[in-house]
């Protein structure tokens, strides 16, 4: 850390991220460019899967050096061997991360985290739900929006419900039973967040299992939405930062990961990305703390899932879900 930073004159580091975060990532990278005298190009390939597919297809000629990606997708990439392990000697900031944010096998760590919880429209709902189980109490029939099994949070919800109903992380049968029994009460099984937002605004739904980061938009629209931390605990979707295997700038990529986990960058994550930073030293404004996870306690309460188990079973779950729950109309 004392050494003067190496000069990467002429190098162009390609960082792939979500389209809607591109501008902010570009902004966050400015100092990195200055420090290492290189150029950072942000590749905005909309969704996680597009990014992952691209990287998998480009195994022989990777175009991307660093990829930001939701944990569960990154797990697929790790398994497929398209990502490099993180070099702890370079990425020294790893040590500042909450434990859950570090990858057990040494792959890309989480740089931010969002929570799923229950959001409801207080204008429409008199008695708010307190737990996931409450959702099926009958009070919210026809007003519910839940993640589709094919969405990121779908399997999380399944596992959570299964655990509550007598199953476990590896026995999801009770969860499916619950979903199946209540299939007609769910108004919307959503795949993207904008579907939920629109449904809230048109009054189609009033209760949803949704991400915390969506609160500001809903609020700004004049909807009186409220956040509930369900009794079962929140489950999270964390964003990871990964180095692409055989990429053109491996050294610079590792440096970028380290940079992204630094206090300086992490301090800006909440404001710029509207997500909770995973660096223990990171600060967060009070306004953000209202709905973003902050502090050791909140971080500890986040539910963990076995991504590899989920990934191995996801296709089958989706198929079953489509046959038994979201049955073709």
């Amino acid at each position: 850390a004392d050494k003067a930073p190496k000069d990467f004159k002429g190098a162009t580091l390609v960082v792939a991220t979500w389209g809607f975060t591109a501008a902010n990532v570009r902004e966050l990278s400015k100092n990195f460019e200055k420090t290492y005298n290189c150029k950072v190009v942000v590749d905005e390939t909309s969704g996680n899967s597009d990014r992952l597919n691209k990287i998998m297809a480009q195994r022989k000629n990777p175009e991307i050096d660093v990829a930001l990606m939701t944990d569960i997708f990154a797990a697929i990439g790790n398994k497929q061997g398209v990502f490099e392990k993180i070099n702890p000697k370079v990425v020294t900031n790893l040590k500042h991360l909450y434990k859950f944010a570090k990858n057990g096998e040494g792959y890309g760590p989480c740089y931010s985290v969002v929570r799923y919880g229950i959001i409801y429209d207080a204008g429409m709902v008199k008695v708010p739900p307190k737990s996931y189980k409450d959702l099926f109490s009958g009070k919210y029939n026809g007003q519910l929006s839940l993640p589709d099994m094919a969405s990121t949070a779908g399997p999380y919800l399944l596992v959570t419900l299964a655990q509550k109903a007598g199953g476990s992380a590896t026995n999801v049968e009770p969860g499916f039973k619950l979903l199946k029994a209540n299939k007609d009460h769910v108004k919307q099984w959503y795949l993207t967040s904008s579907e939920v937002q629109t449904a809230f605004s048109t009054g189609e739904i009033s209760v949803a299992v949704f991400m915390d980061m969506n609160m500001p938009t809903l609020k700004k629209s004049g909807l009186n939405v409220k956040w509930v931390d369900p009794k079962e605990g929140d489950f999270s979707a964390a964003a990871t930062i990964n180095v692409v295997k055989d990429c053109k700038n491996p050294e610079l990529a590792q440096l970028f990961v380290n940079y992204f986990l630094s206090d300086a960058v992490q301090n800006q994550v909440a404001d710029r990305l509207n997500e909770a930073p995973t660096n223990k030293n990171a600060k967060m404004s009070a306004e953000k703390q209202e709905y973003l996870a902050y502090g050791q306690k909140a971080m500890n309460s986040l539910k963990k899932f076995d991504w590899n188990f989920i990934n191995a079973n996801k296709a089958a779950w989706i198929e079953r879900f489509q046959k038994e729950v979201a049955v073709q109309k």
Partner: protein
């Protein structure tokens, strides 16, 4: 049918660049990946598809919805095209632009417009309830009805534009001749105008049907998660399950379904297309 004459062969040379381009950039890649898929997975995924009632059901839904979309687009599009071709209204150009307006709005945004209109408390329901036509809001969104409405909206311009040009080329004297022979406007339409516009109809139907078969955004957004078409499944396998083999298999099943249906349609309409044309004066 004739065998190829020399002129004919020379004419066919004209198509050479097109043939080469399509072969190089479409056929070869597609075939390459098909072979790859077959090599890697054999017919496993094809078998999976056809032995599972859900997938067969999705194929059936896709075909049925596409047929409905095509039929509605034709029934609504033909009179509109007729109007466009025959009116001397000063608005003609404006109307033409209106037809292509929807294309300027991304399919997603357009679907949003429909959500606002068709939603449970959407404009349509508000209107119907205000006028007392219904007591309970209709459920339209997230049903096949919404998908059909959205697809017709998306694809009807193809129908209208395909037919308008052909109707414009019909010699007005030919319709007059039918009138003089006592055919009323309906008979004239069905026996003269309609058969003479067959090329446009066929072309429009092929465009609408195939685009509907391969559509993705509209069914996804207006059909919700309980409505799936073939493209939905392809997307799911590519983007969620990362199962490229199954995605390819579904794509090729869709491709061959379309080809078979078109082959059948071509055979059924062969006469209509061929008879038209030639021998007329300016």
């Amino acid at each position: 049918m004739m065998t190829l004459t020399k002129q004919n062969k020379q004419l066919l040379l004209l198509a050479l660049p097109t043939v080469l381009a399509l072969t190089a950039f479409f056929v070869v890649p597609m075939a390459y990946i098909l072979v790859d898929t077959l090599k890697a997975d054999g017919t496993k995924y094809f078998q999976k598809f056809f032995t599972d009632a859900m997938y067969r059901g999705i194929l059936k839904t896709t075909v049925l919805v596409s047929l409905q979309v095509t039929a509605i687009s034709l029934l609504l599009g033909y009179p509109t095209a007729y109007f466009m071709a025959r009116t001397r209204s000063r608005m003609k150009n404006i109307l033409l632009i209106v037809i292509i307006f929807p294309f300027l709005v991304s399919a997603v945004v357009r679907s949003y417009g429909w959500m606002v209109i068709l939603g449970g408390r959407g404009l349509l329901n508000q209107l119907l309830m205000a006028t007392g036509l219904i007591q309970q809001p209709l459920t339209i969104l997230n049903t096949s009805t919404a998908v059909i409405i959205g697809l017709v909206h998306l694809l009807i311009p193809y129908m209208i534009l395909s037919i308008t040009g052909v109707i414009q080329n019909i010699d007005p004297n030919v319709e007059r001749a039918a009138y003089s022979l006592n055919a009323n406007p309906l008979q004239t339409f069905f026996r003269v105008t309609l058969p003479l516009s067959a090329p446009g109809i066929i072309s429009g139907c092929i465009l609408v049907f195939t685009m509907s078969m391969t559509s993705y955004v509209t069914p996804k957004l207006l059909g919700g998660s309980k409505f799936r078409m073939m493209s939905t499944m392809v997307f799911q396998e590519v983007n969620i399950n990362f199962n490229w083999g199954f995605a390819s298999a579904i794509s090729y099943i869709l491709l061959f379904t379309i080809l078979i249906i078109l082959l059948f349609a071509t055979y059924a309409t062969a006469g209509a297309n061929q008879r038209v044309g030639g021998g007329k004066r300016v």
